[in-house]
Each structure stands twice: as C-alpha cells, then as structure tokens.
C-alpha cells in the first residue's frame, strides 16, 4: 500500500510535483502514466526517500520509507537500470544489498534465477547489456520478497521478449496480492499491463481511475490519454514546426496552447 498526500517538490521556481495525492492498492498493477518530465520519477524518488518533498508526504505501509524497520523486505524498487557499480558482479552487488537489508543470502541465488541471470551471476555487471541491467535491477527489487514494488520505466530499451517478460512478472506479482506501481510514458504498454491508472500532467494529478472507466466511452486508452493531457504535455510541438503546414493560422485567443518557447521542466543538475 502506497499513499501519497499533497506531495510537492520544487526546483527553484519550477514545481516538478504539485500537491499530488493518490493511493496505490495491493492486488493490481497500477500504471503511473504521464508525458516525459511530468514528475513520475521525482514522485517515485520521494516515495523511496531519496528526495525530500517540499510539502506533503509519501507513505509506504503507513510510514515514510526511511522509517520502515526492514525497508528491503517491505519495498522493492527499480528506479534506474544501472544502480550498481560496474566493477562488481551481479552476485556481489546483491549480496551486499542483502547484508544491508537483513535479507538471507540464499535469496541472492533465488532472485538471480528468477530474472534469468544465474549464468551471468559472476560476471562483472559493467559488461551487462541494458536488458541484463534491467534484470539485475529487478532482481534487487525482488531481493527482500517485498509486498510493495515500484518500477520506473522498466521496459525502456528492452527487446520484445524482455518487454513481455516484465509485463508477465508484474501481473504475477500483483496476482500474489502485492502492490505494484509501474511508471511509463508508453500508453500501449500500460494498456496491456495495468488495471488501474494514475495519470499526471506537469506534476499534477490528471486522473486516478481504472483503465476500464477511462475507456468506457469506447475510445482507446491512447485517445483518453491525449484528452487528459492536452494542454498538459510540456514538449508539445506546434503546427508551425511541421513542414506540411505552409500558412499556420494564429491560435485563437480563447484557447491558449502551451508555447513551444516555454522552457521545459527540467531537474537542475
């Protein structure tokens, strides 16, 4: 169970996440959908206690992540594929995490088999392909057999077989009664994976609903998504930029569209 209440994060004058509230229930895959830069990763980082919110809070099983007694046994997260030192083997990386999280060493071999990395367990992880990195990140997330799982863009850079594997894994984790939150900007992937959706625009909640309700009027999920995010997407191109538009008509004053010259919302480095 994840609950986010009034979560706000600002970088300078820019609000990456603004007054965001939603719950993620166990037993289903909840898709966390939004355009690039809409604040999905920032929200997940705040849930994991990596970033401190400017206001509001994110609770996992009723407590902030850093206050969990055994965090790895309650929450597993894949935030970035390469969250390991390239000089260590997959086995060493997971063994160190298991020691820190109070997880039995036997789990290391188990999760490596689960994600299909048993053969590569003693290979330096720096030599891994992106797909193998994702699998190692998922192994780390599964290490403590947690009831809550977060995946940030897990299918990025994966081949079709890997995409299907992750999809099936997430569904089976949810079927076991776990809470699964998976972010993506790929609507088609969410349509196949998620039953529930949390859609955010630039840092704000746009929808918190089931996939069935969102598409109840017969529209596809993609159409529903664009309806929600129109005016909210931040990297909107304008007709003036398209080569087939010779004479762009001036935008009506009553319906202002986001200017392409607005600076994109970025995290400062």
């Amino acid at each position: 169970m994840i609950s986010v209440r009034g979560l706000t994060k600002r970088y300078g004058a820019t609000a990456a996440v603004e007054d965001l509230s939603f719950d993620v229930a166990p037993g289903t895959v909840t898709g966390f959908l939004g355009p690039n830069g809409s604040g999905k990763s920032t929200t997940m980082r705040m849930i994991m206690g990596l970033d401190t919110p400017d206001a509001g809070r994110a609770l996992v099983n009723g407590r902030p992540y850093p206050e969990l007694a055994w965090p790895l046994r309650e929450v597993g997260a894949l935030l970035e594929a390469r969250a390991y030192h390239p000089g260590r083997t997959a086995h060493q990386h997971l063994t160190a995490l298991a020691a820190g999280g109070g997880v039995s060493r036997a789990r290391v071999g188990e999760v490596l088999r689960t994600v299909g990395l048993a053969e590569a367990a003693h290979q330096r992880a720096g030599t891994f392909s992106l797909g193998m990195s994702q699998r190692l990140g998922i192994a780390a997330a599964l290490l403590g057999d947690p009831g809550v799982l977060l995946f940030d863009e897990p299918v990025n850079g994966l081949d079709p077989e890997g995409v299907r594997w992750i999809r099936d894994l997430m569904k089976s984790l949810a079927a076991e009664g776990r809470t699964v939150l998976v972010s993506s900007h790929l609507i088609s992937e969410m349509a196949l994976t998620a039953e529930h959706l949390v859609v955010i625009g630039p840092g704000r909640l746009l929808a918190d609903t089931s996939v069935a309700e969102l598409t109840a009027d017969g529209s596809s999920l993609e159409e529903a998504f664009f309806r929600l995010t129109s005016g909210a997407a931040m990297y909107t191109g304008t007709p003036a930029h398209r080569p087939d538009t010779e004479t762009p008509s001036p935008a009506p004053l009553s319906a202002p569209s986001p200017s392409p010259y607005d600076p994109p919302h970025r995290r400062p480095r």
Partner: protein
C-alpha cells in the same frame, strides 16, 4: 560517543549499524581496484622507505643532534596518503557516478548509518594495514641503512610513537577522504579538493610564508610533527599535531554527513 550520535546510528526499527557495516565491508572487498590500490600503498611505502634509508648519508658531526632516520623511513606516507585518499573519495563519489547510491539507500535509508559504516570499514582497514606497513617499513628500512649509521630502534625515545602515529595518520586520512567524497560528491572535484588540501596549498604556503601557516596542514603535520622522533622546534609538537588532525577529520566528516543527509540523493 554521545547518546545523540549513538541514537542517530541506531534508528528505531530492524536494521542498524551491523547491517550497514556488513554491507560496506562486502562492497569494499568486492572491488578489485581497491585491492590493487592498497597493494600500491603497501609496496610503494615499503619501497620508498627502503630506498630513502639506503640513500641516507652518515650525518656530519654538527647535524648529529637533528639527525632523524625515523623520519626518512616514513617518507612513503606522502604516497600512501594520496592513494588512500583517492580510494576513500571514490567509496562515496563512485556511488553517485554509478548510481549505486540508490540501491545502497534503498537497503539502508538512514544516511548517517551509511556514512558511518563506510568510514568505519575503510578507516579500520586502512588503520590496520598502515600500522603493519609502517612497522615492516621501519625494520626493512633500518636494515638498508649504511652500517656506519646507528640503526634506530623502536625502544629509542619517540621512535615507536612516530611510527605508530604515521600509521594512524593514514587511518585519519581514510575517514577524511570519505567525508570529502560525501561533501563534494563529484569524483574529479573531490580528488581535486583532496590533492589541493594535501599537496598544493601547503606547498604554495610553504613557498610563500615558510612554515608559519603550512605547518597546520595535514601533510606537514604528518611529515614534521608525527613522523619525527625528535620534535622540530618551529613545527607543531606530535600530540598537538595529532589532535589537530583528529579535529580536521571530525569537521570534514561532519560537513560531509550534513550534505549527505540534507541533499537529495
């Protein structure tokens, strides 16, 4: 250790310092580069000590009073501190450049624990290793001395203190480097800060103002206050120098801890 510090290392809940220590120990020993670098420390310090002693000329009678072969045999500390410092910095900055800090903080989200474990594990390993190396270097270097020069002995006044303090110095540098890594976070800048602090700034100051200011810098304290069996009049005394180093280490560590806790990971 005060109760406040102790309780910050023992959060209410399941995991605690023992878990963080075990995790950092596995991480330290599972990187081959760390062992290669430590091998450089061992071989380099012994070799420099032996070569310096082999090249030490018998003192002329007027220099006899200030002649201190113990200082010569410990010349390798200058190299040791650089390598130890770089490893210590990388223990923290490497986590940021590789992204593994996210995994580390997922397992142990209480950040003071992570830094304490890193400092304790690397500081401890460095301390034990350095004390062994300075003792080995002392005997190997003594054997390389001209037969005409009387060999220094650990039982001579101040010699054992000079040798052991030099080993302890490297342990302090290890902790200081972990603190610099947490404070600066980017590998290149952190190593720059380390080299500036240990070599560049004191060398410039020594050139400009002699020992007046430079004597307060770690490298100068190590070479002229700690690694001497006969304290030098214009330099800090051994114990004053050592106390100052402990203070520096505590300040840098505390600053690194503050940044680690405050800043988003």
């Amino acid at each position: 250790m005060s109760t406040a510090v102790l309780s910050s290392l023992m959060p209410a809940g399941g995991y605690g310092l023992p878990h963080a220590l075990r995790m950092e120990w596995i991480k330290l020993r599972s990187l081959r580069s760390t062992w290669w670098a430590l091998l450089v420390v061992v071989a380099g310090m012994i070799a420099i000590g032996v070569v310096t002693m082999a090249n030490t000329k018998p003192p002329s009678p007027d220099k006899l009073a200030t002649f201190d072969p113990t200082n010569n045999v410990l010349a390798g500390v200058a190299l040791g501190q650089l390598v130890i410092g770089v490893i210590g910095v990388l223990l923290v900055t490497g986590e940021y450049s590789s992204g593994s800090i996210r995994a580390t903080l997922a397992a142990v989200p209480h950040r003071p624990l992570v830094l304490a474990a890193k400092a304790a594990v690397f500081g401890g390993v460095t301390l034990v290793l350095s004390e062994l190396v300075v003792l080995v270097t002392f005997f190997a270097g003594g054997a390389a001395l001209y037969p005409a020069i009387p060999q220094p002995s650990l039982t001579d006044g101040g010699v054992l203190r000079a040798v052991l303090m030099s080993g302890a110095y490297l342990g302090l540098i290890a902790v200081m480097a972990v603190g610099i890594g947490a404070l600066v976070r980017h590998t290149a800048s952190a190593i720059g800060a380390l080299v500036g602090l240990l070599f560049v700034v004191p060398a410039v100051l020594a050139g400009a103002t002699g020992t007046a200011v430079a004597k307060f810098f770690p490298t100068m304290i190590a070479g002229n206050s700690l690694a001497v069996s006969r304290p030098m009049p214009e330099m800090l005394t051994p114990w004053a120098g050592f106390a100052l180093l402990v203070l520096y280490t505590a300040v840098v560590y505390a600053a690194g801890l503050r940044v680690l806790v405050k800043r988003d990971a």
